[in-house]
Symmetry: C2
Subunit: 196 residues, 2 copies
Protein backbone atom coordinates (compact mmCIF):
# COMPACT_ATOMS: atom_id res chain seq x y z
CA UNK A 1 0.00 0.00 0.00
CA UNK A 2 1.18 3.55 -0.61
CA UNK A 3 2.98 5.00 2.40
CA UNK A 4 0.75 8.08 2.64
CA UNK A 5 -2.36 5.86 2.58
CA UNK A 6 -0.97 3.60 5.31
CA UNK A 7 -0.36 6.60 7.58
CA UNK A 8 -3.77 8.11 6.82
CA UNK A 9 -5.66 4.84 7.41
CA UNK A 10 -3.95 3.95 10.67
CA UNK A 11 -6.08 4.32 13.78
CA UNK A 12 -6.47 2.51 17.07
CA UNK A 13 -9.06 -0.26 16.70
CA UNK A 14 -10.72 -1.86 19.71
CA UNK A 15 -12.66 -4.77 18.23
CA UNK A 16 -11.63 -7.65 16.01
CA UNK A 17 -13.49 -10.32 14.06
CA UNK A 18 -12.86 -14.01 14.71
CA UNK A 19 -11.24 -14.35 11.29
CA UNK A 20 -7.76 -15.79 11.83
CA UNK A 21 -4.62 -13.80 11.07
CA UNK A 22 -2.08 -15.19 8.61
CA UNK A 23 1.07 -16.01 10.64
CA UNK A 24 3.16 -14.84 7.69
CA UNK A 25 1.60 -11.39 7.96
CA UNK A 26 2.75 -11.25 11.60
CA UNK A 27 6.24 -12.31 10.49
CA UNK A 28 6.36 -9.51 7.91
CA UNK A 29 5.12 -7.00 10.49
CA UNK A 30 7.85 -8.05 12.92
CA UNK A 31 10.44 -7.81 10.14
CA UNK A 32 9.42 -4.16 9.81
CA UNK A 33 9.71 -3.72 13.58
CA UNK A 34 13.25 -5.11 13.51
CA UNK A 35 14.20 -2.40 10.99
CA UNK A 36 13.59 0.42 13.45
CA UNK A 37 16.53 2.65 14.37
CA UNK A 38 18.30 2.35 17.72
CA UNK A 39 21.00 4.35 19.48
CA UNK A 40 24.38 2.78 18.72
CA UNK A 41 22.48 0.10 16.76
CA UNK A 42 21.83 -1.45 20.18
CA UNK A 43 18.64 -3.12 18.96
CA UNK A 44 17.47 -3.51 22.54
CA UNK A 45 13.96 -4.44 21.47
CA UNK A 46 12.22 -7.82 21.67
CA UNK A 47 8.73 -8.90 20.72
CA UNK A 48 6.52 -11.60 22.22
CA UNK A 49 3.75 -13.02 20.02
CA UNK A 50 0.83 -14.51 21.92
CA UNK A 51 -2.02 -16.49 20.37
CA UNK A 52 -2.97 -18.97 23.13
CA UNK A 53 -6.37 -18.10 24.55
CA UNK A 54 -5.42 -18.71 28.20
CA UNK A 55 -2.48 -16.33 27.93
CA UNK A 56 -4.58 -13.73 26.11
CA UNK A 57 -7.18 -13.91 28.88
CA UNK A 58 -4.53 -13.42 31.56
CA UNK A 59 -2.92 -10.52 29.65
CA UNK A 60 -6.33 -8.89 29.16
CA UNK A 61 -6.82 -9.01 32.92
CA UNK A 62 -3.46 -7.27 33.48
CA UNK A 63 -4.59 -4.56 31.03
CA UNK A 64 -7.86 -4.11 32.97
CA UNK A 65 -9.90 -5.15 29.95
CA UNK A 66 -12.94 -5.45 32.20
CA UNK A 67 -12.92 -1.68 32.80
CA UNK A 68 -12.99 -1.12 29.02
CA UNK A 69 -15.90 -3.55 28.64
CA UNK A 70 -17.78 -1.78 31.44
CA UNK A 71 -17.45 1.41 29.39
CA UNK A 72 -18.98 -0.21 26.31
CA UNK A 73 -15.86 -1.36 24.47
CA UNK A 74 -15.48 -4.86 23.04
CA UNK A 75 -13.10 -7.29 24.80
CA UNK A 76 -10.43 -6.22 22.32
CA UNK A 77 -7.48 -7.85 24.05
CA UNK A 78 -8.76 -11.33 24.97
CA UNK A 79 -10.76 -11.31 21.71
CA UNK A 80 -7.91 -10.44 19.34
CA UNK A 81 -6.43 -13.34 17.34
CA UNK A 82 -2.88 -12.16 18.02
CA UNK A 83 -1.18 -10.04 20.67
CA UNK A 84 2.29 -8.59 20.28
CA UNK A 85 4.06 -7.44 23.44
CA UNK A 86 6.90 -5.04 22.52
CA UNK A 87 9.75 -4.99 25.03
CA UNK A 88 12.79 -2.78 25.60
CA UNK A 89 15.94 -3.38 27.63
CA UNK A 90 17.65 -0.34 29.12
CA UNK A 91 20.62 -2.45 30.21
CA UNK A 92 21.31 -3.45 26.62
CA UNK A 93 22.02 0.23 25.92
CA UNK A 94 24.33 0.53 28.92
CA UNK A 95 26.20 -2.58 27.80
CA UNK A 96 26.49 -1.19 24.26
CA UNK A 97 27.74 2.20 25.43
CA UNK A 98 30.36 0.61 27.66
CA UNK A 99 31.99 -0.90 24.55
CA UNK A 100 35.31 0.57 23.37
CA UNK A 101 33.86 2.49 20.41
CA UNK A 102 31.25 4.19 22.59
CA UNK A 103 32.88 5.06 25.92
CA UNK A 104 34.20 8.57 26.52
CA UNK A 105 37.91 9.30 26.52
CA UNK A 106 38.11 8.64 30.26
CA UNK A 107 36.47 5.23 29.73
CA UNK A 108 33.13 6.20 31.27
CA UNK A 109 29.68 5.71 29.77
CA UNK A 110 27.94 8.77 28.31
CA UNK A 111 25.31 10.63 30.33
CA UNK A 112 22.03 9.82 28.63
CA UNK A 113 20.13 13.05 27.92
CA UNK A 114 16.94 11.08 27.13
CA UNK A 115 16.03 7.39 27.56
CA UNK A 116 16.58 6.28 23.98
CA UNK A 117 15.46 2.74 24.92
CA UNK A 118 11.90 4.04 25.24
CA UNK A 119 12.11 6.16 22.09
CA UNK A 120 13.49 3.24 20.10
CA UNK A 121 10.73 0.90 21.19
CA UNK A 122 8.33 3.68 20.20
CA UNK A 123 9.84 3.56 16.72
CA UNK A 124 9.35 -0.22 16.61
CA UNK A 125 5.75 0.12 17.81
CA UNK A 126 5.08 2.65 15.05
CA UNK A 127 6.44 0.24 12.44
CA UNK A 128 4.17 -2.51 13.82
CA UNK A 129 1.10 -0.26 13.77
CA UNK A 130 1.82 0.84 10.19
CA UNK A 131 2.76 -2.66 9.04
CA UNK A 132 -0.56 -3.94 10.39
CA UNK A 133 -2.43 -1.48 8.14
CA UNK A 134 -0.26 -2.42 5.17
CA UNK A 135 -1.32 -6.05 5.73
CA UNK A 136 -5.02 -5.09 5.70
CA UNK A 137 -5.27 -5.73 9.43
CA UNK A 138 -5.97 -3.46 12.39
CA UNK A 139 -4.36 -2.96 15.78
CA UNK A 140 -5.00 -1.31 19.14
CA UNK A 141 -2.82 -0.59 22.13
CA UNK A 142 -3.23 -1.24 25.82
CA UNK A 143 -0.92 -0.51 28.71
CA UNK A 144 -0.26 -3.30 31.18
CA UNK A 145 -0.39 -1.81 34.63
CA UNK A 146 1.53 -4.45 36.62
CA UNK A 147 4.73 -5.13 34.71
CA UNK A 148 6.03 -7.67 37.25
CA UNK A 149 2.94 -9.83 36.84
CA UNK A 150 3.27 -9.59 33.05
CA UNK A 151 6.93 -10.59 33.35
CA UNK A 152 5.97 -13.59 35.46
CA UNK A 153 3.19 -14.65 33.10
CA UNK A 154 5.40 -14.53 29.99
CA UNK A 155 8.72 -15.49 31.58
CA UNK A 156 10.22 -12.06 30.72
CA UNK A 157 13.64 -11.39 32.32
CA UNK A 158 13.67 -8.84 35.15
CA UNK A 159 15.82 -6.34 33.18
CA UNK A 160 13.36 -6.28 30.26
CA UNK A 161 10.43 -3.82 30.19
CA UNK A 162 7.28 -4.92 28.36
CA UNK A 163 5.86 -1.56 27.30
CA UNK A 164 2.31 -2.60 26.43
CA UNK A 165 0.14 -4.94 24.43
CA UNK A 166 -0.75 -4.60 20.74
CA UNK A 167 -3.89 -6.61 19.87
CA UNK A 168 -4.02 -7.42 16.15
CA UNK A 169 -6.75 -8.84 13.93
CA UNK A 170 -9.21 -8.12 11.18
CA UNK A 171 -11.20 -5.06 12.23
CA UNK A 172 -14.78 -5.29 13.47
CA UNK A 173 -17.09 -2.33 14.17
CA UNK A 174 -15.79 -0.69 17.34
CA UNK A 175 -16.58 2.07 19.76
CA UNK A 176 -14.22 4.97 19.14
CA UNK A 177 -12.08 6.31 21.96
CA UNK A 178 -13.72 9.28 23.68
CA UNK A 179 -10.25 10.86 23.74
CA UNK A 180 -10.68 11.63 20.03
CA UNK A 181 -13.20 14.32 20.96
CA UNK A 182 -10.17 16.37 21.96
CA UNK A 183 -9.47 16.84 18.25
CA UNK A 184 -6.06 16.91 16.65
CA UNK A 185 -3.75 19.77 17.66
CA UNK A 186 -3.44 22.30 14.88
CA UNK A 187 -0.33 22.33 12.71
CA UNK A 188 0.35 25.95 13.68
CA UNK A 189 0.43 25.00 17.36
CA UNK A 190 2.60 21.92 16.92
CA UNK A 191 5.20 23.11 14.41
CA UNK A 192 7.57 25.91 15.38
CA UNK A 193 9.93 27.68 13.00
CA UNK A 194 13.51 28.68 13.87
CA UNK A 195 12.68 28.43 17.58
CA UNK A 196 9.71 27.73 19.89
Amino acid sequence: MDFADVVAKRRMVRNFSERPVDPEAIERILDYARRGPSAGFTQGQDFIVVTQQELKDAIAELCHEKSYVERGFAPFISGAPVLIIPCTTENAYHRRYQQSDKVREDGSEIDWPVPFWFMDVGCAVMLILLGVVDEGLAAGYAGAMDLDMLRELLNIPAEVTPVGVIPIGHPAPDKRSPSLKRGRRDEKEVVHHEGW
Copy 2:
Protein backbone atom coordinates in the same frame (compact mmCIF):
# COMPACT_ATOMS: atom_id res chain seq x y z
CA MET B 1 6.16 5.04 -2.49
CA ASP B 2 5.12 1.56 -1.41
CA PHE B 3 5.21 1.16 2.36
CA ALA B 4 7.49 -1.90 2.28
CA ASP B 5 9.96 -0.04 0.04
CA VAL B 6 9.98 2.99 2.34
CA VAL B 7 10.84 0.81 5.34
CA ALA B 8 13.49 -1.12 3.40
CA LYS B 9 15.15 2.01 2.03
CA ARG B 10 15.27 3.92 5.31
CA ARG B 11 18.71 4.25 6.87
CA MET B 12 20.58 6.87 8.84
CA VAL B 13 22.41 9.21 6.44
CA ARG B 14 25.23 11.45 7.61
CA ASN B 15 25.91 13.68 4.62
CA PHE B 16 23.68 15.91 2.52
CA SER B 17 24.08 17.77 -0.74
CA GLU B 18 23.57 21.53 -0.93
CA ARG B 19 20.43 21.04 -3.00
CA PRO B 20 17.60 22.83 -1.18
CA VAL B 21 14.67 20.96 0.34
CA ASP B 22 11.14 21.82 -0.76
CA PRO B 23 9.41 23.40 2.27
CA GLU B 24 6.19 21.62 1.24
CA ALA B 25 7.95 18.27 1.64
CA ILE B 26 8.82 19.25 5.23
CA GLU B 27 5.18 20.22 5.79
CA ARG B 28 3.98 16.83 4.54
CA ILE B 29 6.55 15.05 6.72
CA LEU B 30 5.36 16.94 9.79
CA ASP B 31 1.75 16.14 8.90
CA TYR B 32 2.74 12.48 9.14
CA ALA B 33 4.45 13.13 12.47
CA ARG B 34 1.27 14.72 13.83
CA ARG B 35 -0.61 11.51 13.01
CA GLY B 36 1.37 9.43 15.48
CA PRO B 37 -0.51 7.78 18.35
CA SER B 38 -0.34 9.12 21.90
CA ALA B 39 -1.60 7.92 25.25
CA GLY B 40 -5.02 9.47 25.91
CA PHE B 41 -4.60 11.35 22.60
CA THR B 42 -2.43 13.73 24.63
CA GLN B 43 -0.42 14.74 21.54
CA GLY B 44 2.36 16.00 23.77
CA GLN B 45 4.76 16.34 20.85
CA ASP B 46 6.08 19.49 19.20
CA PHE B 47 8.51 20.00 16.35
CA ILE B 48 10.95 22.82 15.70
CA VAL B 49 12.10 23.36 12.11
CA VAL B 50 15.46 25.09 11.76
CA THR B 51 16.96 26.34 8.50
CA GLN B 52 18.99 29.40 9.58
CA GLN B 53 22.70 28.69 9.26
CA GLU B 54 23.70 30.36 12.54
CA LEU B 55 21.22 28.24 14.47
CA LYS B 56 22.29 25.09 12.64
CA ASP B 57 25.92 25.83 13.54
CA ALA B 58 25.04 26.30 17.20
CA ILE B 59 22.91 23.13 17.27
CA ALA B 60 25.72 21.17 15.59
CA GLU B 61 28.03 22.27 18.37
CA LEU B 62 25.57 21.05 21.03
CA CYS B 63 25.51 17.68 19.20
CA HIS B 64 29.33 17.53 19.25
CA GLU B 65 29.46 17.51 15.45
CA LYS B 66 33.20 18.18 15.68
CA SER B 67 33.77 14.75 17.23
CA TYR B 68 31.95 13.17 14.27
CA VAL B 69 34.08 15.15 11.81
CA GLU B 70 37.24 14.08 13.65
CA ARG B 71 36.17 10.49 13.02
CA GLY B 72 35.80 11.07 9.28
CA PHE B 73 32.11 11.91 9.02
CA ALA B 74 30.78 14.89 7.08
CA PRO B 75 29.43 17.89 9.05
CA PHE B 76 25.97 16.39 8.66
CA ILE B 77 24.19 18.66 11.13
CA SER B 78 25.47 22.14 10.26
CA GLY B 79 25.56 21.07 6.59
CA ALA B 80 21.98 19.81 6.35
CA PRO B 81 19.46 22.13 4.66
CA VAL B 82 16.83 21.46 7.35
CA LEU B 83 16.90 20.31 10.97
CA ILE B 84 13.83 19.08 12.81
CA ILE B 85 14.01 19.00 16.60
CA PRO B 86 11.30 16.66 17.96
CA CYS B 87 10.13 17.54 21.47
CA THR B 88 7.98 15.82 24.08
CA THR B 89 6.27 17.20 27.18
CA GLU B 90 5.78 14.84 30.11
CA ASN B 91 3.62 17.38 31.92
CA ALA B 92 1.13 17.41 29.05
CA TYR B 93 0.46 13.74 29.87
CA HIS B 94 0.02 14.46 33.57
CA ARG B 95 -2.39 17.28 32.75
CA ARG B 96 -4.32 14.99 30.39
CA TYR B 97 -4.54 12.15 32.92
CA GLN B 98 -5.78 14.49 35.62
CA GLN B 99 -8.87 15.21 33.50
CA SER B 100 -12.20 13.74 34.63
CA ASP B 101 -12.32 10.96 32.01
CA LYS B 102 -8.83 9.73 32.93
CA VAL B 103 -8.47 9.95 36.72
CA ARG B 104 -9.03 6.86 38.85
CA GLU B 105 -12.18 6.44 40.93
CA ASP B 106 -10.50 8.13 43.90
CA GLY B 107 -9.61 11.12 41.69
CA SER B 108 -5.89 10.37 41.52
CA GLU B 109 -3.73 10.16 38.42
CA ILE B 110 -2.73 6.70 37.20
CA ASP B 111 0.68 5.27 38.03
CA TRP B 112 2.57 5.33 34.75
CA PRO B 113 4.09 1.90 34.11
CA VAL B 114 6.28 3.31 31.31
CA PRO B 115 7.00 6.88 30.16
CA PHE B 116 4.62 6.99 27.21
CA TRP B 117 5.77 10.54 26.43
CA PHE B 118 9.10 9.12 25.24
CA MET B 119 7.49 6.23 23.37
CA ASP B 120 5.05 8.57 21.64
CA VAL B 121 7.79 10.91 20.47
CA GLY B 122 9.58 7.78 19.22
CA CYS B 123 6.49 7.05 17.12
CA ALA B 124 6.56 10.60 15.74
CA VAL B 125 10.30 10.33 14.97
CA MET B 126 9.67 7.08 13.09
CA LEU B 127 6.98 8.78 10.98
CA ILE B 128 9.41 11.60 10.19
CA LEU B 129 12.20 9.21 9.21
CA LEU B 130 9.85 7.20 6.97
CA GLY B 131 8.19 10.32 5.54
CA VAL B 132 11.62 11.64 4.59
CA VAL B 133 12.27 8.52 2.51
CA ASP B 134 8.83 8.77 0.92
CA GLU B 135 9.74 12.31 -0.18
CA GLY B 136 12.98 11.10 -1.81
CA LEU B 137 15.04 12.73 0.93
CA ALA B 138 17.33 11.32 3.61
CA ALA B 139 17.71 11.91 7.34
CA GLY B 140 20.07 11.21 10.20
CA TYR B 141 19.77 11.54 13.95
CA ALA B 142 21.96 13.14 16.56
CA GLY B 143 21.51 13.45 20.30
CA ALA B 144 21.96 16.85 21.86
CA MET B 145 23.94 16.37 25.03
CA ASP B 146 23.10 19.60 26.90
CA LEU B 147 19.33 19.97 26.78
CA ASP B 148 19.31 23.19 28.80
CA MET B 149 21.58 24.92 26.30
CA LEU B 150 19.41 23.66 23.44
CA ARG B 151 16.34 24.98 25.26
CA GLU B 152 17.99 28.37 25.67
CA LEU B 153 19.10 28.51 22.03
CA LEU B 154 15.63 27.71 20.65
CA ASN B 155 13.53 29.32 23.37
CA ILE B 156 12.07 25.93 24.38
CA PRO B 157 9.98 25.98 27.61
CA ALA B 158 11.60 24.34 30.63
CA GLU B 159 8.94 21.58 30.81
CA VAL B 160 9.58 20.52 27.21
CA THR B 161 12.25 17.91 26.34
CA PRO B 162 13.94 18.21 22.94
CA VAL B 163 14.88 14.57 22.30
CA GLY B 164 17.40 15.05 19.51
CA VAL B 165 18.08 16.56 16.11
CA ILE B 166 16.99 15.14 12.74
CA PRO B 167 19.08 16.58 9.88
CA ILE B 168 17.24 16.32 6.55
CA GLY B 169 18.36 16.84 2.98
CA HIS B 170 19.12 15.20 -0.31
CA PRO B 171 21.59 12.41 0.39
CA ALA B 172 25.27 12.67 -0.48
CA PRO B 173 27.83 9.84 -0.26
CA ASP B 174 28.45 9.26 3.44
CA LYS B 175 30.58 7.24 5.79
CA ARG B 176 28.49 4.46 7.29
CA SER B 177 28.18 4.14 11.05
CA PRO B 178 30.69 1.65 12.44
CA SER B 179 27.87 0.42 14.71
CA LEU B 180 26.41 -1.36 11.68
CA LYS B 181 29.26 -3.88 11.92
CA ARG B 182 27.32 -5.34 14.85
CA GLY B 183 24.90 -6.76 12.30
CA ARG B 184 21.16 -7.02 12.72
CA ARG B 185 19.91 -9.30 15.51
CA ASP B 186 18.41 -12.46 14.10
CA GLU B 187 14.65 -12.84 13.91
CA LYS B 188 14.83 -15.98 16.05
CA GLU B 189 16.56 -14.04 18.82
CA VAL B 190 14.23 -11.04 18.71
CA VAL B 191 10.83 -12.68 18.32
CA HIS B 192 9.50 -14.91 21.11
CA HIS B 193 6.39 -17.08 20.84
CA GLU B 194 3.85 -17.52 23.65
CA GLY B 195 6.44 -16.31 26.19
CA TRP B 196 10.09 -15.24 26.37
